[in-house]
């Protein structure tokens, strides 16, 4: 059953396409040597090129091109060996050159696709129309002074990839899943950090509504939405607004809108009549960008494993599809898991990572990039279980001590004498002592109260401070009870 919004005139379908601006991970800007780090002092990362000084010329940054090609390859897209930069002309105080260098007519990456998965397990292909490289503008700060605007050019000239989808999405959930998946792929590729709250990824959302079986109706573009949640909210809010317009006899006008995250509604930013005439023309300062096929092949050969492939590999390793999904959501989580699982039982490693480890992250409000227990130490703990040094139960206690102290599990076992007791004599002595102290319970057991068996085991383990090998303790209790 496809997603619809029920209006007064019946159900409405949604048509959604996304234009995502993703900041390229690179040390320097697209056309200058200035640095790109986030959060630096205003105007501290600006070259004369970025500030549009007379006589300054852009020179393309090879690494940014490589990142765009990697991204294209990761989106199963056509790589255009010949592409070209254009100038998009408009005046604004934070656009020092008076034009943005972008790729309008001939983008570096053509058609591709992304597979998304929905909550009900259904899969869907969303088409990618194109990906092009462009430079970012600076930032206007209107709240620093009562009568003046301040300009920070640190972002000016930073490389962006604009990734345009086909209008293939039909629900807020699909839009959210697309953006999440795209971000996941970019992070795996290492081409964009996907940090939407720092502005290194933002989405323009194109929405229209229609009745079943119709062609496309007029769309509106909701600009600069900066989280997955807001994209989903903006889609729904804008769709509901358009439905109301159509159903009240009006006409949706093509326009650019903004999403008000406080009110959860969209409002008009500028109409089609006010749209700029950008006067695009080929950037004469840059020759066409020509890629060597061999170079593209090299980039392809060195691409990291992407989430879908990795997930399938984890399932093949014996993980449940759910664990495989959870462990591959973030590249860092997968890397953590792989370190824990290396040379060990993958299923057990997955259980520990998704179980106690994730619980600890949640409880401590820590992030996978700042884990309370290192992957190496968690792996070491699994080794101690595997070789019988500690029991599974004891391991959980040791894990908590590892969190508190940051020490390696072997060190903790050594320091606290937590090594599992496998000496049958010692276990027999402990069991005998427990049975002797609980003669009444022994009698009850012998008269048929089988459940007390666990009580004797538990008492023995307690007496041995949890260090008794559980299998051996069971065996001895059974033997001594006769």
């Amino acid at each position: 059953m496809s997603y619809t919004i029920e209006g007064n005139t019946g159900p409405w379908e949604l048509v959604i396409g996304l234009e995502v601006h993703a900041q390229v991970i690179s040390h320097s800007k697209l056309f200058s040597g200035a640095a790109t780090a986030f959060g630096a002092e205003p105007n501290s990362q600006v070259s004369f090129i970025d500030a549009g000084f007379p006589g300054m010329l852009p020179v393309i940054n090879r690494e940014c091109v490589a990142q765009a090609v990697r991204t294209g390859l990761g989106l199963n897209a056509e790589i255009n060996l010949w592409s070209r930069f254009d100038r998009k002309n408009y005046f604004y105080a934070d656009l020092p050159q008076g034009y943005q260098i972008s790729q309008y007519a001939h983008p570096i990456v053509g058609k591709g696709e992304i597979e998304i998965e929905l909550a009900d397990g259904a899969k869907k292909i969303v088409g990618i129309t194109r990906l092009h490289l462009e430079q970012d503008a600076g930032k206007s700060l209107h709240d620093q002074h009562p009568t003046k605007s301040f300009i920070d050019l640190n972002r000016s000239g930073v490389a962006l990839m604009e990734i345009v989808s086909e209008p293939d999405m039909r629900s807020p959930e699909e839009a959210g899943a697309y953006l999440t998946k795209l971000r996941q792929i970019l992070r795996y590729l290492g081409t964009c950090d996907g940090n939407m709250d720092e502005g290194s990824m933002r989405a323009d959302v194109n929405v229209s509504v229609r009745k079943a079986g119709e062609g496309y109706r007029t769309r509106c573009e909701v600009k600069n939405v900066n989280s997955v949640k807001f994209v989903m909210q903006a889609v729904e809010a804008e769709a509901r607004r358009q439905i109301e317009v159509w159903e009240s006899g009006g006409t949706v006008e093509q326009e650019t809108r903004l999403f008000d995250t406080q009110r959860g509604t969209t409002r008009s930013m500028r109409s089609k009549e006010d749209a700029h005439d950008y006067r695009y023309f080929p950037e004469p300062d840059l020759p066409p960008l020509v890629l060597e096929p061999d170079w593209v092949e090299q980039l392809k050969a060195s691409l990291p494993e992407l989430p879908d492939v990795r997930r399938a590999r984890y399932v093949a390793m014996g993980l449940t599809p759910y664990d495989a999904h959870v462990l591959t959501l973030e590249k860092e989580t997968a890397a953590f898991f792989e370190t824990v699982a290396k040379g060990r039982d993958a299923k057990q490693a997955a259980n520990w990572v998704t179980g106690d480890f994730f619980a600890a992250l949640n409880r401590l409000k820590r992030d996978i990039t700042d884990p309370p227990v290192t992957a190496e130490n968690l792996g070491g703990l699994l080794d101690l279980i595997a070789d019988g040094t500690v029991s599974g139960k004891l391991a959980k206690e040791i894990f908590e001590i590892m969190i508190e102290t940051g020490k390696a599990p072997g060190v903790i076992v050594e320091e606290r004498g937590l090594k599992q007791v496998t000496d049958t004599g010692a276990i027999e002595a402990a069991v005998a002592d427990v049975l002797a102290k609980n003669a009444d319970k022994v009698a009850e057991y012998k008269s048929g109260k089988d459940k007390l068996f666990g009580f004797f085991v538990g008492q023995t383990m307690k007496a041995m401070q949890g260090k008794g090998n559980p299998a051996l303790v069971n065996e001895v209790v059974k033997k001594l009870l006769g």
């Binding site: 004369f48 500030a51 549009g52 000084f53 007379p54 006589g55 300054m56 010329l57 852009p58 020179v59 393309i60 100038r87 002309n89 005046f91 604004y92 105080a93 020092p96 050159q97 008076g98 034009y99 605007s149 300009i151 005439d277 006067r279 695009y280 023309f281 004469p284 300062d285 840059l286 020759p287």
Partner: protein
């Protein structure tokens, strides 16, 4: 011989022989500038103190045997080249007071080779013009005047009018210039000196205030063809900071000047024989070709069929690029900033650009904006790009038959300051013989070849194959030798 009468070659020889010093030369030129610049207005900025310091340093380098190829040679720099620490105006009020913190690659190359900069010379505003009258820093006067009408002040041509006038008046041994549609070759011809626009990409554009990026190219003007060759060798070279500069070795251009033209095939394009062309120009062209034949070259009649579309094509492409290149002059970061009380951003733009740009620059920004606008792009800009490709192809086909092409440099001699005022299109016709080389990216040299009936210099142009400036120099030097052009302007140091 006065020091200011030196050519670059003879001055370098004198310096090398210890017969003079850079300080002596620099003082002589500075004296000439002080005396004549109030009338000629060739210099916007005279850097007397810096020049003398540089000359002293140069003489010191020479004394320890560290002389570069241009060691100690006083030059003038077109005020379109950014020079670190020295005001760079582009001839515009909008850049008034702008002191670049960086050096253009071309001027950096000249400094590397030991040149001394006397100052920054005048030009049409943002290099847009053929008379040097659009400069916000006043018109430049041509040091030549008509024999029968000495009181009519003449233009030096443009846009490199200050460069050409300074060199012609012996106020510098040579000068940097730039050429977007003829801005080196036309003023060189008007002032009776030589000037070459090299192949597009031969000189770095880094640090040169942009007019039309796909057409702009730096080159020298100087008294002789060989002087141009010496200067170009220092100015040229690959620059990783200009993506359109060519990673090719720079030949010994001066050596090419001595190369004989015997056996060379010289193209004579029939489309350059304009209706109503001045008989003197026609005769000079004929004469130049005869000289080359006498030295063993052969003539080949060729056709460049799209020549008649070159000027309109140029006046679409160049303003289009200029309208975008000049968007950065907005009053926000440097140069002129005009505001009123309660000015908003738009008001700042409008006031700054209305006051800062002159009429010709505003006209070209408007033309350029128009031809790029939605609905007009295909009819103008795109069409112009297609015609440009056809013009380029005309030349490619010609290179199958000829080694160089010889044409007049300009359709007339220098005109009076008050002539050709009313109609910008008439002014644009000055570029009719020169724009094709820019549209096709080809090297072209202007060489003084004779005088008209009024005693004013006339020049011929040699257009070469891409990256073949050497043949331009060979042919240009052959014309120069035959012409034995020894005339000098009345006003000179």
């Amino acid at each position: 011989m006065r020091l200011t009468d030196h050519t670059l070659r003879s001055a370098l020889d004198a310096l090398n022989a210890g017969e003079t010093t850079s300080v002596a030369l620099t003082e002589a030129f500075l004296e000439g500038i002080a005396r004549l610049n109030p009338r000629l207005n060739a210099f916007i900025t005279v850097s007397a103190d810096q020049a003398l310091e540089a000359a002293k340093a140069s003489d010191a380098r020479r004394a320890v045997g560290k002389a570069g190829p241009l060691e100690g040679a006083p030059l003038a720099i077109k005020d379109l080249f950014c020079t670190a620490g020295t005001q760079t105006t582009a001839g515009s009020a909008i850049l008034g007071g702008f002191v670049p913190p960086y050096e253009s690659t071309v001027t950096k190359n000249l400094l590397r080779d030991g040149a001394v900069f006397l100052g920054k010379v005048n030009l049409d505003e943002f290099a847009m013009g053929s008379s040097n009258k659009t400069s916000a820093y006043g018109a430049v006067e041509n040091p030549w005047s008509r024999a029968n009408d000495p009181d009519t002040r003449l233009v030096p041509g443009g846009s490199s009018g200050g460069s050409a006038a300074a060199v012609a008046a012996h106020l510098a041994l040579g000068a940097t210039a730039t050429d977007t549609g003829g801005s080196i070759r036309q003023p060189a011809a008007f002032c009776g000196i030589a000037g070459i626009k090299p192949t597009y990409g031969r000189c770095s554009r880094f640090g040169i205030v942009a007019f039309a990026s796909s057409l702009d190219q730096a080159g020298p003007v100087a008294r002789t063809v060989e002087d141009c060759a010496i200067l170009l060798r220092s100015m040229a070279g690959f620059d990783p900071r200009d993506a359109t500069s060519a990673d090719l070795p720079v030949p010994d251009f001066a050596a090419a000047c001595a190369r004989p033209v015997k056996g060379l095939r010289i193209g004579v394009p029939r489309e350059y024989r304009l209706d109503g062309m001045a008989p003197e120009i026609e005769a000079l062209w004929r004469q130049g070709l005869d000289w080359l034949v006498q030295q063993g070259a052969t003539l080949v009649d060729i056709s460049l069929p799209h020549t008649k579309y070159a000027l309109p094509t140029y006046y679409v492409v160049a303003p289009a690029e200029a309208s975008s290149n000049l968007a950065r002059y907005d009053g926000v970061r440097f140069g002129l900033r005009e505001t009123a009380q309660n000015s908003d951003l738009r008001d700042l733009y409008e006031r700054t650009r209305a006051k800062g740009f002159g009429a010709e620059v505003q006209r070209r920004i408007m033309i350029g904006t128009y031809v790029l606008s939605a609905g007009y792009y295909d009819a103008y800009y795109l069409k112009a790009q297609k015609v440009r490709a056809l013009i380029r192809r005309d030349f490619e086909q010609a290179w199958g038959q000829v080694d160089a092409i010889v044409t007049p440099a300009t359709p007339s001699a220098a005109f009076g300051m008050d002539e050709k005022q009313d109609d910008p299109v008439t002014m644009y016709l000055n570029d009719v013989f020169t724009v094709t080389a820019n549209l096709a990216g080809l090297p072209g040299i202007a060489v003084p070849a004779g005088l008209d009936a009024q005693g004013l210099p006339l020049g011929l142009q040699v257009i070469g194959k891409p990256w073949d400036e050497e043949t331009c120099f060979s042919v240009g030097a052959a014309i120069e030798r035959a012409a034995n052009f020894t005339a000098v302007p009345g006003i000179r140091a």
